[in-house]
Subunit: 384 residues, 2 copies
Amino acid sequence: MENFTYHNPTRIRFGRGQIAAVDRELPADAKVMLLAGGGSIKRNGVYDQVRRALGRRTVFEFFGVEANPDYDTLMKAVGLCRREKADWILAVGGGSVLDGAKFVAAAVPFAGEPWDILARQARITQSLPIGTVLTLPATGSEANDSAVISRRSIREKLAFINPLVFPRFSILDPETTFSLPARQVANGIGDAFCHVVEQYLTYPADAALQDRFAESIMQVLIEEGTKTLAQPTDYAARANLVWAATWGLNGAIGLGVPQDWATHMIGHELTALHGIDHARTLAIVLPSLLQVQREGKRAKLLQYGARVWNLHEGSEDVRIDAVIAATRKFFESLGIPTRLANYGVKADSAAEVARRLQARGMVRLGERGDITPAVVEKILRLAA
Amino acid sequence: MENFTYHNPTRIRFGRGQIAAVDRELPADAKVMLLAGGGSIKRNGVYDQVRRALGRRTVFEFFGVEANPDYDTLMKAVGLCRREKADWILAVGGGSVLDGAKFVAAAVPFAGEPWDILARQARITQSLPIGTVLTLPATGSEANDSAVISRRSIREKLAFINPLVFPRFSILDPETTFSLPARQVANGIGDAFCHVVEQYLTYPADAALQDRFAESIMQVLIEEGTKTLAQPTDYAARANLVWAATWGLNGAIGLGVPQDWATHMIGHELTALHGIDHARTLAIVLPSLLQVQREGKRAKLLQYGARVWNLHEGSEDVRIDAVIAATRKFFESLGIPTRLANYGVKADSAAEVARRLQARGMVRLGERGDITPAVVEKILRLAA
């Protein structure tokens, strides 16, 4: 295990009716910018609960943060925030709204060009405080300090990480997610599962607890994810999914271990090029990536097979084939197709993705830095 | 799963050489009270590393915090702290020193009689900030907000919990624990294991992730604990033990689930009466408690048997017998005897412990409140 620092200061309020606690979490005189997505929160009762909790505080609303939150949209929110001198951001929505809130919170007090926060990893020295009301379990953004922002006008999708943007508090009421379309729930399960894989399926690093926690999260996503898709209003199953998704990317399982993230980097390009849902790009890339990287990941693939999929029979290679197949089948069972062809994408997209990563200087992806653009192309051809 | 709030603000710095980071964690002008135990840190190099990290800061040293830290000892530290106007507490040691530091930190600014913090759960509104350098993996005190304090002069042992006493930072360098006597390492493993059991082995509460995390911690304690006792300077095994012990009682596995803690309450009395090491009292009580409470804990005992001890054969009762035996055997394998007789304690101590708990009003222990003094006596007679 490598040395690490662990600090996760977000206060989580979990369970039924917890949105009312927004009132206790925010200062009475907070001037709040409420950031939200397309308006589903007005149809499922979340908005009403939030406004009730906000009481008489001054609130500025900004709706319209899209999936893969866009820089141009968010800069409008930055403008509103600056104009009205809002001093708290309350993000109400899924990972995109939460990621957007982090960018807005960092951009508002930023003296230079906000794009530099993403494009040049410009140093941030302050941020508005952020609270969140999570309505879609998937990204872990409710309990971490990172955000991914797109800029469609120049076809970019970039991330930033800074401890200043940890939410001060996050409200997780599983009931707010009951009305989600099955496709979004499935995407959330798939996304969370891939977050775990990126931090776990690398090479052994003598991190026994991180490994077992990662396996635990995957087991819960498999068992409870399946349950909650079948019975969307089963509180227990949905609560377990929500909590597992948070732990998929709240930092704990990635401490002191190598991480991969190539599936995400390749997936981001597929979203940028073809508009495929983020989680679906991961489900396309991951099985093929595991196949191509099976030697480097051999020990962990066997451990993953034994502990998560109960695969103990046959030679090592037979078990590795089986665990890759099980992973693919899991995504398919969620209703997520795992082949580029299922999305109408031609095999020659593989070369284009490789070229784009090359152009970004992303030429050594993966935990060993051995996923070159040529390997990316090979992975995507296998995913055709 | 019940509603819960989760907030653990302690910053952990984990790994080799991390004591130097004390310098980055403390303000340059901090007036530090260094709290420590009997002086082993002067023999194993920890003290030198800490003093080096403290640099030119003003430091007041207070050595002599004993196992089961004593109120009278700690009040001397409170006096020193007040006299010298120390504004930070740095605890260097095991759980006893850390618990003691929490009490001192709360008592220094407390206007009333500090004993009331324990005896009357008096309200605390401020605390000195605390940093810790952990040298004995066991209690989780490095990442939680509770402390247990003894007062030998009146044979009391009481706890308090307050978010104000979460350590601001904790340094966990596994190498600092290499020189611990095997008995203390074994006690730490047993103690941490029981912390998990108290939060896990109750009745099912639809908390899939908390269950699997608890099972993960137990598996790591079993596997890596055994390894580290055999090879005390194996860094990987010791690091895994240290990290697992922290997670045994940092709050995460107890969220939204019923908790027992009867083993601890009974064990505290055995320590008070007979001076038996804390962890050893738990190893005495737990197997008999599980036997007596087997009906109420049936479902979780079976799950624990299957997932942690791989017990799948035979009837439910056969498997429950087997898992209780496996638990007892685990303690014994650590070198911890599990019978009162092994400690020269007569069976009639059972009645005395029951009387003491009765006198304290602790008449409904356990997750269902069904462990009356009569049941306590039955448990201890079975542990004879």
